[in-house]
């Protein structure tokens, strides 16, 4: 089998959530030949994730996310965008060649411009028992419920911070599950402070109020300013213990409360998945408020590497609507930069979009503030708590590697194997960098993992296909 032909496009968009979808649509409306690639079978990303073929919502009632997802899928289907679903990007080379692998085979695409819209991943600051079966991320729980219509367990404790807490608890209740309690890092005062920002988007505020009503109706105890101190169980989580904290996430010594549960949904905010800018060595900057290391970019998402644009939560945590707007801006900029849009048209289109963007800032600022990292949580991780769960590396081992001279995260990776596992450092990266920063002085000094392909682990069988020995272009022998 020969290697695939390289298919030429004007723009490649990686990630088909609200950001990537909007980027692809905007660029294609402006006349660019666009290919949109995502590892999911249908566009939507995580927030607008479609149910797999053959499944549908039993009650037939669609929520706002489902409706937005359906609209996005219909718009992409009706557009001239070339859709490549179920495809994993495993290589980005040149400026730019994108190689994908899927069950249908390998494909290669080439374009002078690339939009990275790969979304975010969850931050879970480790606590004893967080690796037990039955413990799931908050965002992971929403995916389970959205795409499979499944609740995480019969009796779930929902913990962490931010609007997802209420969303997950309400969805569990609606799905017939029981919520044992909500354990929220934020205080009532934090929520009140966030209220004006959240109220700036009435539809979302209304949705939020409905969530809280459902939670109140179900008489779910809400523990404000509390955190999970441990999850316990023989083979799976059986109980979860919470304790009061201060605004920094440090235990304040108040009474513990233990809940019998069979699942725990926990999340401490989101981290931008800036893998592509990182891989392409685009300039990054650390911003705790934005979720971590984010690509340096202009208003339209143009990164420091020519032809690369970043949009959505992969560029800065802001949520679905701002993601669609930054995606559209990136798509317009790509069209402008390739000459498909003249400057007047670009001005008009982008001005409207920027105005819409400014209207979202109050809401995403408020949500981000609720989800902000609490530094003391990292400082207080117990020595024998597993931090890197792929490689089973405990905090004490990380501290030993730091004491042995690991001064930044990549050296720490060498010293400890931390971050070398199948999650490629996604789960532990933010925590590990936080631990190194305690010694190195700052997150900037602690650095970030060097970007490496593939973007996600890929089965060799998928990548290599069927081949004969004569198909392998073995180079000339090395000198004897």
């Amino acid at each position: 089998m020969a290697l695939p032909l390289v298919l030429p496009f004007d723009l490649v968009v990686i990630g088909a959530g609200p950001a990537g979808g909007a980027a692809a649509l905007a660029a294609s409306e402006a006349g660019l030949r666009v290919v949109l690639i995502d590892e999911s079978a249908a566009p939507g990303g995580q927030v607008y994730r479609a149910m797999p073929a053959g499944l549908s919502h039993s009650d037939g009632a669609l929520g706002p996310d489902e409706r937005a997802g359906q609209a996005l899928r219909e718009a992409i289907a009706a557009s001239s965008v070339t859709w490549k679903g179920g495809a994993r990007v495993w290589s980005i080379s040149g400026r730019y060649r994108i190689d994908t692998a899927s069950t249908a085979g390998c494909e290669s695409f080439e374009a002078p411009r690339l939009v990275a819209a790969t979304g975010a991943h969850e931050r879970i600051v480790p606590f004893p028992g967080w690796t037990l079966p039955g413990v799931i991320g908050l965002a992971g729980a929403t995916i389970l419920m959205k795409s499979q219509g499944m609740v995480p367990g019969r009796r779930t404790l929902v913990a962490g911070c931010g609007p997802l807490l209420a969303a997950v608890a309400a969805k569990i209740i609606a799905g017939g599950g029981e919520v044992a309690a909500i354990v929220d890092l934020s205080s009532r005062a934090d929520w009140l402070k966030a209220l004006p920002g959240l109220a700036s988007r009435p539809a979302l505020l209304k949705q939020g109020i409905n969530w809280f009503l459902a939670i109140g109706m179900a008489r779910v105890p809400v523990l404000f300013r509390h955190t999970i101190v441990r999850a316990e169980g023989e083979n799976a989580v059986a109980s979860v213990t919470a304790s009061p904290v201060d605004g920094n996430g440090r235990l304040s010594g108040g009474p513990e409360r233990t809940f019998e549960v069979d699942s725990l949904a926990v999340g401490h905010g989101l981290v931008p998945g800036a893998e592509i800018p990182r891989l392409l060595r685009s300039k990054l900057a650390f911003s705790a408020a934005s979720g971590g290391w984010i690509p340096v970019r202009d208003t339209f998402g143009r990164c420091s590497v020519e032809g690369l644009y970043a949009a959505g939560d992969g560029a800065e945590i802001a949520g679905a609507l701002p993601a669609a707007i930054t995606g559209r801006l990136a798509g317009l900029a790509a069209a402008r930069d390739s000459g498909a849009l003249d400057s007047a048209r670009f001005e008009i289109l982008s001005e409207v979009t920027l105005a819409a963007f400014r209207k979202t800032l109050a809401f995403s600022g408020a949500a981000r503030d609720l989800m902000r990292p609490r530094p003391a949580m990292i400082e207080d991780i117990a020595p024998d708590t597993v931090v890197c769960r792929c490689e089973d590396i405990r905090r004490s081992e990380i501290e030993a590697a730091i004491a042995a001279g690991a001064s930044e995260v990549n050296q720490l990776k060498h010293f400890s194997r931390c971050g070398m596992g199948p999650c490629q450092g996604r789960m532990c990266g933010d925590t590990v960098a936080g631990l190194v920063a305690l010694h190195a002085g700052s997150r900037e000094a602690a650095g970030y993992w060097t970007g490496r392909p593939p973007l996600r682990p890929v089965p060799l069988s998928m990548l290599l296909g069927e081949f004969d020995y004569s198909d392998i272009p073995v180079p000339e022998p090395a000198p004897l």
Partner: protein, 393 residues
């Protein structure tokens, strides 16, 4: 000004760190400058293979000694660097490869490597994971691998214990010649040293320019890949007749696939880009050799730089015309042979007679540069006619 240090070393890879270690243990007050962290370039990101079957014939005697050093790293280095000693196989899948393999194994055997050619069934007994498509194999008992990423940790501890003044994250911007040695210029200060070793890997070309010498160093961009942990699928180091494959499964279950397939990069930017065709080719070759490897998922791929001189033999010895200055690097399969060659240079600096000859660089310099030489051109027996060494059968 009296030099504060007996010895200054620029470059903290296996070569520089080994010279520093043995010289400091022998009592020289030693300072080592590394622009980044110890052993984070070629010495930390290579495939860790410790094989004779990819080693250049002229280096076999050195590689055998170095293999013994790696195998006993715990004793002299204080850390085992994850070294596993095991059998090694070099495979032939075509008649042409079988011919190449037999010829090359013969040459390497003459140089001292205990390689024999074995049948497919014998090879299968050594490595049950092997493909049935093998025509014959070179078999060597002296083989194995290290966990290259542990190299920096191992040397860091050892150097600090030996009292080396270790200056990581300290790039050197130039060298000045002083009355009693050299001044090593860093952003913070100029450090006076009596003797100097340049051990900068692919950056040796830039470092030699500090002395106005032109030593051309070719930069190879070697691609590597590692799988997720999988069940045991192999127990030996597996290569191929042409040398374009190195494959082994670590005790924790990951399989590292290398062999020198080229990516994109240079000494200024490092290994910036991996070529997908070359990754696919390399991984296909790996799966052709060990079919069960197809079960694995590719977890990570990267590129490491390797330095090569004009004749692909090391640059290890005094710098011509510059008393008390030495060079050490550009060793083909340098991770394998590095510690021994660096130890020989340490012997030379310590005014002990090295057991094996070094690789003086007079042969590699432009004529006007070589004319500076205070020593006659190399009489190294194996360097004579090195350029005529057949590059392929």
């Amino acid at each position: 000004m009296k030099p504060a240090y007996d010895l200054g070393i620029v470059g903290g890879g296996v070569h520089g760190a080994t010279v520093a270690l043995f010289c400091a243990r022998a009592g020289l007050k030693t300072v080592l400058f590394e622009r980044g962290s110890l052993c984070r370039e070629a010495s930390g990101v290579n495939a860790g293979t410790l094989t004779m079957q990819m080693t250049r014939v002229a280096l076999i005697p050195y590689a055998l000694q170095a293999h013994a050093m790696w195998a006993s790293a715990r004793e002299w280095l204080g850390h085992d660097v994850g070294v596993v000693v095991c059998d090694g196989l070099s495979l032939a899948f075509t008649e042409r490869e079988a011919e190449l393999l037999t010829f090359r194994a013969g040459k390497r055997r003459e140089a001292g490597a205990p390689i024999s050619i074995i049948s497919p069934s014998e090879a299968m007994a050594v490595e049950p994971g092997l493909s049935e498509k093998v025509l014959c194999a070179g078999h060597c008992k002296v083989d194995g691998y290290a966990n290259a990423y542990l190299t920096g940790l191992a040397f860091r501890r050892a150097l600090l214990e030996a009292g080396v003044d270790l200056r990581e994250q300290t790039p050197v911007s130039g060298i000045s010649r002083e009355e009693q040695g050299f001044g090593v210029a860093t952003a913070q200060e100029t450090v006076p040293v009596k003797r100097l070793v340049l051990a900068g890997g692919v950056w040796l070309e830039d470092m030699m320019a500090w002395f106005g010498l032109h030593l051309p160093i070719k930069v190879l961009i070697n691609q590597l890949a590692v799988t997720e942990r999988i069940r045991p699928v192999m127990r030996t180091v597996v290569g191929i007749a042409s040398g374009l494959l190195s494959l082994k499964q670590y005790p924790h279950g990951t399989v590292v696939i290398g062999g020198g397939w080229q990516g994109v990069g240079d000494r200024k930017r490092g290994g910036v880009e991996l070529l997908p065709e070359n990754l696919v080719g390399n991984m296909r070759l790996a799966c052709h050799a060990i079919p069960a490897l197809k079960e694995a998922r590719l977890a990570r791929a990267w590129a490491g730089l390797e330095a090569e001189t004009r004749d692909a033999l090391p640059a290890a010895g005094p710098i011509p015309g510059i008393p008390d200055a030495y060079i050490c690097g550009s060793v083909h399969s340098g991770y394998t042979s590095g510690p021994y060659i660096a130890k020989l240079l340490a012997d030379r600096i310590l005014e002990r007679e090295p057991i094996d000859p070094l690789f003086p660089i007079d042969r590699l310099l432009a004529p006007q540069d070589a004319a500076q030489a205070t020593r006659p051109l190399s009489t190294h027996p194996e360097l004579a006619g090195a350029d005529e060494t057949p590059h392929s059968l």
